[in-house]
Symmetry: C2
């Protein structure tokens, strides 16, 4: 699909989220009413429940734009990826991917089991020609502007070719989702201790220099301490490092937040101060919240499959739907396909 | 040395710090007067300058406990590690290591060029028998208690043997520096996405299970989001991952701090609130400050060589001296030596 008039259809796996399908329908309402998202939606999940949930909400859009597809099963967080898809053929996740495969949708958004979504997406939709392995990209807030971190867990044992392709995926994702014309792509490394980088990163650096200026705009290596400086649009790393950086960064954020809270509650004077400056903390949280850029696409596939966090609230879900639409209307898949071929030829 | 009466001599490379030798002498004063550190100190650097700096401070300890060793050269941050040591034989860093080699000191503390210190330490003091490569361990604050992260940059391309040995180093470091009797040792990995761990970590896990209960107390794998939970005493990873985690965590901390500050200064009400709760932020910073546990040892060598951050203030320097003493009086080198032999035999 991906029709010339910019219309698009998103298949939404409404099950498998920690907050249940109600939050998905709230997210859909927020997307259409607050973000003004103009798409067709196919909600996949328990049919009667979804019908009721949609009915009680005050949607002002044409009712034909929201279709409901019944699926009797749910892939849970405990299901093993490949087994889940083989055994639960009528799960909301499998059915949503089926809509994509049958060209009845342009993108899938799911909060479900990441492994199952990745395995299902890869097996059913296949990687693009020339792509070695698809990678998960995620948008993270930093000083001045957000950036794409890729890969955050799809390829724990990466090769230099994987990292080079991650750079191409990430660059196209930043163009489509963040609207950056010429994304500055950096390579995450270490530098101040004895060894500079490791062998994987050093080999990748050579590859990135070879495609620089032709396929991507390579800004060179950066270190961990520069991650939130906001100087680059894409940071490339292997899935093991990316996953640990992402999760440990979230952990630092919570840990700092908790420590501040504890200290603020230690005496009445501090508590009064905290009460007066309460909105500052709220605004800070909103600025650093990942909700605005939720929806991590599995990049390198022949279709748009986006994973949103299992605990996504309605705002995160709405933004995942918004980003899914951006990828479709920007024909990101076509751009990645042509860039990957060009990049592979340059090595 | 490492004398039976618990006395110890620390050679201090007073040059190469961003804040200059003055800060080192302030750190020495703080260590002896405030922390009650009972050691002999050999201050290495510009002799006449050091003499003057010591003279003007109000040291109450026996003056013979502070000796000054003149060194005419300084290893700078821009010097290339191996060249620095070959060409600058009379640098404060080389001379401090020489004191260690000649058995005139039990430990070296330096804020200088990490690469040069690591290369110099490894070449002059040699790794212990059975040690493949030495690693850098660092103490990090977390909920409830601090933990050791190892390696933070010495071995960017690690093998499972390196990671197993890091576990042994880290366990002994936690015993000596943090006073933990049976440190809980965890392996940093990823787990929720498609692949669990990478091949390096999976092979290491098998090794750690083999030495569990005999050489270390293995608590199993943990993920990035658990890093600051305070459940374990040692977190093992390769130098590439550890360096990025350390530096990106510091970056998150600064980024969050700056964002809060910006928001607190946005209007007069918030500013008043911030003024009332000012001490909470100060206490939070003190709790999360790395100064209490400064001084990262290069573990696996035949001697105690500790690297403190280039920008260490006097409190950080004093604590690095304190930790150096702990490693000496606990005979950490002997314990590592015997544990490494036992661990190697178990594989």
């Amino acid at each position: 699909m991906g029709e010339p008039d910019g219309r698009c259809t998103i298949a939404v796996d409404t099950m498998g989220s920690d907050l249940g399908p109600t939050e998905f329908v709230r997210g859909l309402l927020y997307a259409t009413e607050e973000l003004g998202l103009d798409c067709d939606f196919k909600l996949v999940g328990k049919g009667r429940l979804l019908e009721r949930l949609v009915k009680v909400r005050d949607f002002s859009i044409d009712p034909s734009k929201i279709q409901i597809h019944h699926a009797s099963e749910v892939v849970t967080m405990n299901d093993k990826p490949i087994q889940a898809l083989r055994k639960k053929k009528d799960s909301s996740m499998a059915q949503a991917i089926e809509l994509l495969r049958d060209d009845k949708a342009d993108a899938v958004v799911s909060c479900g089991n990441t492994g199952a979504l990745m395995a299902g997406g890869t097996l059913r939709m296949r990687p693009l020609d020339g792509v070695d392995r698809p990678a998960l990209g995620i948008i993270i807030p930093s000083r001045n502007k957000p950036f794409v971190l890729i890969d955050v867990g799809a390829i724990p044992d990466s090769t230099p070719l994987n990292l080079m392709q991650n750079a191409v995926f990430g660059s196209n994702y930043a163009k489509a989702a963040l609207g950056v014309e010429k994304p500055r792509v950096a390579l995450l490394t270490i530098g101040t201790e004895e060894g500079k980088g490791n062998s994987l990163v050093n080999a990748t650096h050579t590859y990135l220099e070879q495609i620089n200026g032709k396929v991507i705009n390579y800004a060179g290596p950066i270190e961990g301490f520069q991650l939130f400086d906001g100087d680059v649009d894409v940071v490339v790393c292997d899935g093991f490092v990316g996953n640990i950086v992402l999760k440990s960064s979230e952990a630092v954020f919570s840990f700092v937040g908790e420590t501040i809270k504890e200290e603020l509650l230690r005496n009445p004077k501090r508590m009064l101060g905290a009460a007066l400056s309460k909105t500052a903390f709220k605004d800070m949280k909103a600025r650093l919240s990942p909700d605005q850029h939720a929806g991590a696409p599995l990049l390198g596939l022949k279709a748009n499959i986006l994973k949103s966090h299992g605990s996504s609230n309605y705002i995160a879900i709405a933004n995942a739907l918004r980003i899914a639409r951006e990828l479709v209307v920007h024909d990101m898949i076509d751009s990645i396909s042509s860039d990957i071929n060009q990049a592979n030829d340059l090595l």
